[in-house]
Symmetry: C2
DNA sequence: TATAAGCTTAGAGTTAACTCTAAGGTCAAC
DNA sequence: GTTGACCTTAGAGTTAACTCTAAGCTTATA
């Protein structure tokens, strides 16, 4: 039976975060001392570690809530439910990745185009590119279109 | 001279967002009607488009504030200042990219490992992997270390 | 002239996941 | 018996970039 600071050390999550997770229904301390101190069982610890692993994998706390309800009653849930959550997250991550890759490419091009020296910025090619809106041909285009479509 | 809704149409930014940018010192309407309506000059429009392009490139509003102060007085600023801001942003984007790529890989492996079928989740390999904390060998490890180091 | 569309401001709400504070109770050690 | 470390709770603050609301003018149209 671990106290919250011991669980904190064991998991690398702060006591604050552990209480936050509890408040949001993700974890719990199976026992309390007479004074109200939380005491965590091995089972509690495993659940916290599950949450941490899922968090590190990119799942939101809401996702994790769903995964946890599957975890405690696996018989009533299917693999498909699990893959649905996972695929949805993968799609989100992939979309974000595409966006960031586009940004990365643009930023690299900008850096390559500029001398980066102590000269004044009168003819700075980065400033010129931003002024010209040249980047709109790439990432901005898709986002601008999406904005227009959702109106 | 454009009214705010006209500028909104022209830029794809909402009037709300334009006022928000103004409140945060990024843009301004050079003129106002007697009734207080904002009127934007061509120069104002170009500045707004600069902000939009920079935003699409990944710069934060704070970054853009710096870029704008360079933009209005290029003689007093160097290319290096511009590349510093750009490189810092590129580093951020690259770091985030690495993290997301790791997540993507993990999520893909999880999906490949699971049947995803209507079977109950008793032996779901995704649940097992999250339970085992297997992913900690990859991305979580670096983040856990960072957390430990910054303590 | 009445209606609707559009403009103004100040300020509150949203989102996610913490992060921190205040006020106070508990516990082990010296 | 008094420090000091640790625990409790409720609730406020943080971050970024919007997004929306309310209450009230202004303007164009029919």
């Amino acid at each position: 039976m671990l106290k919250i600071s011991e669980l904190s050390k064991k998991t690398g999550l702060t006591a604050h975060t552990l209480r936050y997770y509890e408040k949001h229904g993700l974890i719990n301390a199976s026992n309390r001392s007479e004074a109200g101190y939380r005491f965590y069982t091995d089972s509690d610890v495993r659940r916290v570690q599950f949450v941490k692993t899922a968090r590190n994998t990119g799942f939101s706390l809401e996702d994790i809530g769903q995964l946890l309800s599957i975890r405690v009653d696996k018989l009533s849930h299917s693999c498909q439910e699990v893959t649905d959550i996972t695929r949805k997250k993968l799609d989100e991550v992939s979309a974000k990745l595409t966006e960031l890759q586009s940004m990365q490419q643009t930023l690299q091009l900008l850096l390559e185009s500029c001398c980066g020296g102590p000269e004044n910025a009168t003819h700075c090619s980065i400033m010129e590119a931003l002024d010209a809106g040249l980047l709109l041909d790439r990432e901005a285009a898709s986002r601008t279109e999406q904005q227009g479509e959702t109106k």
